[in-house]
């Protein structure tokens, strides 16, 4: 199977690969997938004043899974929480020109975004309750 140029580019030059400390303030972590399924994505966002100022990923998976999560971090940076919620897997499919058998990689990336946002929200709500 041939990969699109964009998948190859993200695979060879992954954007924002790495990790934040999970307990760092303003960091939300999403981990989705399972090793036995052949893909696990960890996606992290760093939020200040409702805006995602930084994002990082680590992925165990095929080239398309790595590219999908790399692209997701690129898109997340600079977006507000509300804007980030609106990223759809179909956008990723279109941008990376993923073939049908690789659509699940984009779904996983969307799940990872949602999970990171939810984790951030949970921590922020918790901090709010603690402050009260």
């Amino acid at each position: 199977m041939a990969y699109s140029d964009k998948v190859v580019d993200h695979f060879n030059n992954p954007r924002n690969m790495g990790s934040f400390k999970k307990d760092e303030e303003g960091v939300g972590t999403g981990m989705v997938g399972a090793p036995e399924c052949g893909d696990v994505m960890k996606l992290q966002i760093k939020v200040q004043n409702d805006t995602i100022v930084d994002a990082k990923f680590k992925t165990f998976g095929c080239g398309s899974a790595i590219a999908s999560s790399s692209l997701a971090t690129e898109w997340l940076k600079g977006k507000t929480i509300d804007e980030a919620q609106k990223i759809k897997n179909t956008d990723i499919v279109q941008e990376l020109n993923l073939p049908p058998v690789k659509i699940h990689c984009s779904v996983l990336a969307e799940d990872a975004i949602k999970a990171a946002l939810a984790d951030y929200q949970k921590k922020a709500d918790g901090a709010l309750i603690d402050a009260k």
Binding site: V32, E36, G38, K42, F60, G61
Partner: protein
């Protein structure tokens, strides 16, 4: 050194230029039909076919009359299994085979089962991928008419104790078919000594052309009969109709002759290169696991799982080396390798496997390059892997509640 490097010699092999040379006259100049008995064109073709039959038979210690030409090993497997089941249906309908056979055997058996024409026992293998001959003995029933066990596995290269299985088959008077696609030409094969009654093999796995294979069908002790699966002109003593592809057969014959002459030399070279590849990779990369038998396997085979990285991404990172992986992402079924699963390899490690298949034309330079590339890409992808990060932090990955999808 030229890129890309071909290290996928279990899928197919490049044709030996010496094989091509022997084939060339049989396309334009000597184009006759080997079945034309009444003119010089036919005689020349027939002579060439019979010469090839001798070369092929010699490699496996058979009689030339026991060689039936087919289009390849898949057809040979189909012809052997379906042909025996149909011919001996009065005697029984039970087949014994193993869970790590090639799809050409497994799907043929399943197709017969689906039609109600056969009942099958699928023997499991040990952690090295080997069938236990005693399991074969125990699985035999009054209705067993065929045992079909492969010589060497196409993924992990493990060589089965075929001779012991052949002995049990003889003892019990049951026919023994061996899918020897990966073994013939690579390791010594002797159908007499191994007690094989039917054997499938193909030309393109041993530096010959694609599109031609053979089924060995024993003529004496016992005389094996099979029902033809294709109707037509009654070629190949009625077992396989269809005009013989003379140039391909000539090439197949030459390929067998070369394998016979050069086996000792090829084997020594391949084992040296393969062992160096294995040792260098294993030394540099922790948590790399060999799949298959540590010693009793094909000379050119090396199958390794690299924990925490996924196979398809490994292949993608080594684009200039042609390899294969047991990862689901590289298979049509989206399931990881059933062979590795049958060995008890965990699904996650099956996803992380790479098969290196070395052949006659690989060089030491290519192996050096491959060692360097493998270490580079595995290291890079582990840096990128959340699983590796967790393992380094001391998290037990088995204890994590994964959101399976």
């Amino acid at each position: 050194m030229k890129l890309p490097i071909f290290l996928d010699n279990h899928s197919t092999t490049p044709m030996d230029p010496r094989v091509l040379d022997t084939m060339l006259p049989y396309f334009v100049e000597k184009f006759g039909n080997a079945a034309s008995r009444n003119h010089a064109f036919g005689w020349a073709a027939e002579e060439a076919v019979e010469q090839a039959r001798k070369q092929i038979a010699k490699l496996i210690k058979a009689d030339p009359k026991e060689i039936v030409f087919t289009s390849g090993a898949t057809e040979s497997d189909n012809l052997a299994i379906k042909g025996v089941l149909e011919m001996y249906k009065e005697k029984g309908d039970h087949i014994i085979t193993s869970s790590t056979e090639h799809r050409a055997v497994l799907d043929t058996v399943k197709s017969l089962e689906g039609k109600g024409k056969a009942v099958a026992t699928y023997l499991s293998v040990d952690k090295f991928g080997m069938v236990n001959p005693e399991d074969v003995r125990k699985a035999i029933t009054e209705k067993t008419i065929l045992i079909s066990i492969m010589l060497a596995n196409n993924e992990i290269g493990t060589i089965n104790p075929v001779k012991e299985i052949g002995k049990i088959a003889k003892e019990k008077g049951i026919l023994f078919h061996c899918d020897a696609t990966q073994g013939v030409g690579k390791i010594p094969v002797d159908v007499q000594d191994m007690g094989i009654d039917l054997m499938s093999f193909t030309s393109h796995k041993m530096y010959g052309p694609k599109g031609v294979g053979a089924l060995y069908v024993r003529k004496k002790n016992p005389r094996v009969r099979i029902a033809a699966q294709m109707d037509g002109g009654g070629h190949e003593r009625g077992m396989r109709s269809g005009t013989l592809p003379v140039p391909l057969i000539v090439g197949f014959g030459k390929a067998c002759e070369l394998c016979e002459q050069e086996m000792a030399k090829d084997t020594a070279r391949l084992i040296a290169m393969r062992d160096r590849l294995e040792a260098s990779i294993m030394k540099a990369l922790e948590e790399s696991y060999l799949n298959g038998h540590p010693t009793n396997r094909l000379p050119g085979n090396l199958n390794i799982s690299f924990a925490y990285v996924e196979g398809e991404s490994l292949l993608m990172g080594m684009k200039d080396i042609a390899l294969s992986s047991g990862s689901a992402c590289t298979s049509a079924t989206l399931e990881p390798s059933y062979v590795l699963r049958a060995l008890g390899v965990g699904t996650e490690l099956a996803h992380s496997s790479i098969r290196f298949g070395l052949g006659r034309f690989n060089t030491d330079d290519e192996i050096d390059y491959t060692i360097k590339k493998v270490i580079e890409i595995v290291t890079k992808l582990r840096e990128m892997s959340p699983l590796y990060e967790m393992a380094k932090e001391g998290v037990d990955l088995k204890s994590v509640q994964w959101a399976a999808h």
